[in-house]
């Protein structure tokens, strides 16, 4: 494995009973990449993300984050990863400040390190005036910001964003794009899943498409948009139900 790989997935398989959610998936993501991970609902994107982050167990294969095995050395692997999930998997009665405070603590951050980091994130995501409100009382856009701040609290090297702009208004979406680009330019590796393909086209340098649990295409963005095609057209071609799923590069 290359030491430069932020993520290396080898022959990942995850079954739910007789259903194969992820089928022998292998891919690697280089350090510093902004990587688009695309697929239809139920294609296996979230299952793959859950396997990387420890939310789900997997049946076969191996996953390494910056060379650290996510099963054998899960503590160190999880410190390297931050996840902003699609669902609001959060204590809805807690305030953003408390959510960040507890999350930082779970990652082993001492109070003296945690507090300034929390203040920095509240400011960065314009959450200061909402810091003491209940999460459940916040608007959809504010909730998304809290999830992003929570994913960033321990300053992870690999940031996984599962539909981070779902339900977010245009202004905030543009603001988030700017912030994500800043993070990427600062050296953070980012994996983005999104159904807004123009967002992926704008932000990502490399893209993978998964269909029915199998990787059907992976390559530089230019390879998907060559010949004047839009990413959306290529995506639709590759995820059609009648397409024979063989990985293309």
């Amino acid at each position: 494995m290359s030491p430069m790989n932020a993520l290396e997935i080898s022959h990942l398989t995850k079954r739910y009973g007789l259903n194969i959610a992820v089928d022998d998936l292998s891919l690697s993501i280089k350090k510093g990449e902004f990587f688009g991970f695309l697929g239809k609902n139920g294609a296996g994107k979230s299952t793959t993300i859950n396997a990387i982050t420890g939310i789900a167990r997997f049946d076969e294969g191996a996953i390494n984050v910056f060379g650290v095995d996510v099963v054998k050395d899960y503590r160190n692997a999880r410190k390297l990863v931050g996840l902003a999930p699609q669902e609001f998997n959060i204590d809805i009665f807690a305030s953003p400040r408390k959510i960040l405070h507890f999350m930082g603590g779970f990652y082993g951050m001492s109070r003296t390190i945690r507090e300034p980091r929390i203040n920095e994130l509240l400011k960065r995501f314009d959450l200061e005036s909402h810091a003491e409100k209940e999460f459940g009382m916040l608007s959809g856009g504010l909730k998304r910001r809290v999830l992003l701040a929570r994913a960033m609290v321990h300053d992870p090297e690999l940031l996984i964003l599962d539909e981070p702009t779902a339900g977010v208004d245009v202004e905030l979406r543009h603001e988030l794009w700017g912030y994500l680009q800043e993070l990427n330019e600062a050296g953070k590796t980012i994996i983005l899943t999104s159904h807004y393909l123009e967002e992926v086209e704008l932000l990502c340098s490399r893209i993978a498409i998964i269909n029915k649990g199998k990787l059907v295409a992976i390559g530089d963005k230019s390879e998907f948009t060559s010949g004047g095609k839009r990413l959306e057209h290529r995506y639709l071609e590759l995820t059609r139900d009648d397409v024979d799923n063989k990985t293309t590069k």
Binding site: Y16, T47, T53, G54, I55, R75, M103, G105
Partner: protein, 258 residues
Amino acid sequence: MKSTSINWIGLQTFVAREMQRCFRVPVQTIITPLLSALFYIFIFGQVLGKTVQNIGGIPYINFVLPGVLMMSVIGAAFAQTSSSLYFHRFTRAIEEILVTPLSHFEMIIGYTLGGIMRGVVVGAGVLVIGVLFGAAGFAHLWWFFFYTVTISTLFALLGVLAGLWAKSFEQIAAPNAFILMPLSFLGGVFNSIAMYPPALQVFARINPFFYFVDGTRYSMTGVREGNTVLGVFIIFAIIALLAALVGYLFHKGWRLRA
């Protein structure tokens, strides 16, 4: 951090979060069990107690108090862990914990310590009520601490198991209605088991709750009906069994990790 070392800050944060959750709804978690205990002690101890002869040489209110106290501790410890874990699963907030470097051991300890602390807080409140009625005292103080902490631990672990098992809020209430309350009442909270018909006395002696109540009563009044050594053995055996089972289920990710 090595996978085998303890994430102390994480564990401390986990317990703090559990406590914060408990004190966020004090009417539900603290006030209600204290009010129930107050009325049990008032009605059974103070009002009915005047018409009841001494049991084991002590006034009825002093006989009832330890049982009511232990029943409150059991309910509080169980409710804390079962509702917390189930709520985390229901809202998927459990994922927030699963992605962190906390080990299964730390998660179980965190939930259990939360249950113990709520059990101890409620137990202390009932003790204060007992003092107000002039019924609280200690014959063996260290035994009192022992029973309060070990029984809180036992029911906190049982609550973790229920929190994993439950698929609805209704199921969370089922163990309390069908196991905890009937076995507590039959375990001699309000009466000596010598008052039961012979067949029920046999049942009472194989009911673990009898040893929880009897041990607490011994620590507070010096009066006992059961065998202390057997009671201690039963408590440790159940704790060991529950800890092993909960540890195994967390390790397997049963109803935790998809």
